[in-house]
Symmetry: C2
Subunit: 434 residues, 2 copies
């Protein structure tokens, strides 16, 4: 190996960071063959340098000062594995300005500030690797930026949040409530103590936004997407969907639709025979449809220490070999493509699953179906269960499948349904993914 | 776009070649953004230059002389899309020696002569791109050579032959015989007029051999693999397997096994809940297990004009951006890793499915099970159907599932079974993939 070693500064040494350190140390021979040079972990910056860091060789200095990396001119590449967008953004800017190339797994950062950071890196002739920011060990970024470069991308759909997928899978297989499955996910390390960003669709929307920028050269802020979480899904919804031949998954979707971009993250019904429906547990899957390749499916561990570290190390090797510079140049050039208009939130067309709880008394079905009819929503099937609840005020659950209609009509109908005296709760509506 | 255009010579303009020409022409803006330079199809060499070539711009000269590309110093990259290994090998050597870089979709060439050509290219500082040689549009080569470079690869298993998968899928879904499904595959363009190399496992074994070289730095000639085709599979086998909870797929497998390499291509029983079992029609799937990433699945169109052209164009873009040189260097370096010994063909351990047709008379079951017992093969389940056939010599079909045993024991038992008077035909044995 003739070339000089690549010196790496690591910022953040939590779960993923220590996984990266472990690969750099355990697989050093493999990595030398891949890179044609040695990879040397030069410094580690963490908030608490006194804590023990198992897996980190003792010879590597650990500090709490980012300046130690900013000022060490021997360091070529900064691998930034911290969360949040405040310190992370500040560090990223300063690292680029100090001449460091960057690898990060921070999806919130790349989603919210990717455009700015990409431009800054472009001006400074630096690179940013962010494979690990989307879908953990699944190489979806490199597939979009290298393997599918001869394709016009038509659509990306995926299950991008392992926590939600774990919860929905376990509810159905283990006959659990949402709360029970969430608690299990937390116990097994698949959900944070505060699971909000996972279960409300924010995490999946951030990842989708990053993929959209690469595939469609379009910036779609998370706030502009239809975004719904899984917290209102009940076991009985999963069972009702299963009886109709569907699974319910938190689905992320972006597709060209009459030269506009349709983009959303929401729980959706997916036909049980589709691979997306069969992706269970904490796994992620991304289906990319390209003009030449057709439908390509990538699936695997979308999170977790070693799968995410695998993606970070792939970015490090890409940098060490000189591929990263070429790919990042191409990413910057691809962003000069005409961007797409974002389709209004009212526009998407789907069939819908509607669940609402109604009083069990005469004329209720007429009232409900009248609302749908007035909004020109045609009913494809309707199931009413035997009533439950106190005898003086029995309630019945309605499951309605509609023919195709628009999100806008469904929203209006939803409000009108909720206003009916006989409707007990906010109806749940889920699109059917086709 | 400041850089000079990349001049391409195309050798072979059949199905895939004309697909490549179509992408180069229809997506030229997209490609320019990806490459930072124009891609210019300079010359096309075909066997019959007089035939009409729809999709090929009229300005591109078409000849039948390879010398036109060998002697045109303005051509940087030769895209060789011809089959076979005679002219293809001769051309590849001469093109590399004439200073051309190479992109090819020829799996037989890379399987049989990849080592020689890689070394030659290395000495001459040229590159060879061969993404399209394995699994069409699925980026399995680039996943192994870039995305998973931080992983020690533990196993690769896949459905790598679309023709066989189409036939086996259609037999079960359409209740067809092998011959009927094969004929349908030929009508729909999924099988050649002579389907031998597809249905006997050769095609899948060639692809597996290429993946093994990349993942395990080991040369496994097709002749050294256990290789069985699908032509003895009957509809009744698919049905019997389904009743037991399995699908039968032509499976390609390579995995580390006590620091030896287990490698085979054969029809195998796969549990119906596994994604591999659910991959139907002409689709391919590759499951790669890496030390860090865990189990990664890639699936999509493994053949066909545009998916294969998509992979060829990805290789062209990789070359145009300068990534190919870096990746190919890394591939050459990775081949210096210690290679693995190939496990003896007798060694693999599986459960087995055995189907044999026996006389319907006393003591037959005792004879059959005695043979298995003498070879220390333990029976897990046994089904005997009601007898069929002429009344004077009725036959019964036995379906036996064994506990785990070795391929060697099964081979010996197989021979002894076949020698029994009561056994009518060569028993069929299929491993159960775990």
């Amino acid at each position: 190996m003739s070339e000089s070693p690549l010196h790496i500064g690591l910022i953040g040494c939590g779960t993923v960071g220590s996984g990266v350190a472990r690969i750099l140390s355990e697989q050093h021979r493999l990595l030398e063959r891949q890179c044609g040079r040695r990879l040397c972990l030069k410094r580690v910056v963490v908030r608490h340098p006194d804590r023990p860091r198992p897996g980190l060789p003792e010879s590597v200095p650990v500090t709490d000062r980012i300046d130690d990396i900013l000022q060490d001119e021997s360091i070529d590449l900064a691998v930034q594995l911290i969360g949040g967008t405040d310190a992370a953004l500040d560090y990223a800017r300063r690292l680029l300005q100090a001449g460091r190339d960057l690898v990060t797994a921070n999806k919130a950062l790349i989603c919210a500030h990717g455009s700015e950071l990409f431009q800054l890196a472009g001006r400074l002739k630096r690179t940013i690797g962010f494979e690990a920011a989307v879908a953990g060990g699944i190489p979806v970024i490199s597939t979009l930026t290298t393997a599918l470069t001869g394709n016009r991308i038509e659509s990306i759909e995926g299950i991008l949040n392992g926590t939600s997928n774990f919860i929905l899978s376990r509810m159905l297989t283990d006959n659990q409530t949402y709360e029970q499955a969430l608690s299990l996910a937390q116990k097994q390390g698949y959900a944070e103590a505060d699971p909000t960003l996972d279960v409300d669709g924010t995490d999946a929307a951030q990842k989708l936004s990053i993929l959209i920028r690469l595939a469609f050269a379009t910036d779609v802020p998370v706030e502009k997407m239809i975004r719904r979480g899984i917290d209102r899904i009940m076991l009985s919804d999963l069972e009702a969907a299963a009886a109709l031949g569907y699974r319910i998954k938190l689905l992320a979707m972006a597709r060209r639709n009459q030269e506009q971009l349709e983009a959303w993250v929401q729980p959706a019904l997916i036909h049980h025979e589709r691979t997306l429906a069969q992706t269970s547990g904490a796994d992620n899957i991304v289906t990319i449809t390209g003009s030449a390749v057709g439908r390509l499916r990538l699936a695997g561990a979308g999170a977790g220490q070693m799968p995410t570290a695998s993606a970070v190390v792939a970015d490090i090797i890409d940098y060490a070999t000189g591929r990263a510079a070429r790919t990042f140049d191409a990413v910057l050039r691809s962003q000069t493509a005409p961007s797409l208009d974002i389709q209004p939130q009212e526009a998407p067309r789907h069939r819908y699953y509607i669940r609402c709880t109604v009083d069990d008394r005469p004329h209720v079905l007429a009232d409900v179906t009248d609302v749908l009819g007035r909004h020109e929503i045609s009913i494809s099937s309707l199931h009413q269960d035997e009533p439950t609840g106190a005898n003086d005020r029995p309630a019945a659950r309605l499951i309605i499948m509609t023919h195709q209609t628009t999100e806008g009509r469904m929203r209006n109908a939803d409000q009108d349904l909720h206003r009916l005296d006989c409707v007990r709760d906010q109806p749940l509506r889920l699109p059917v993914a086709d």
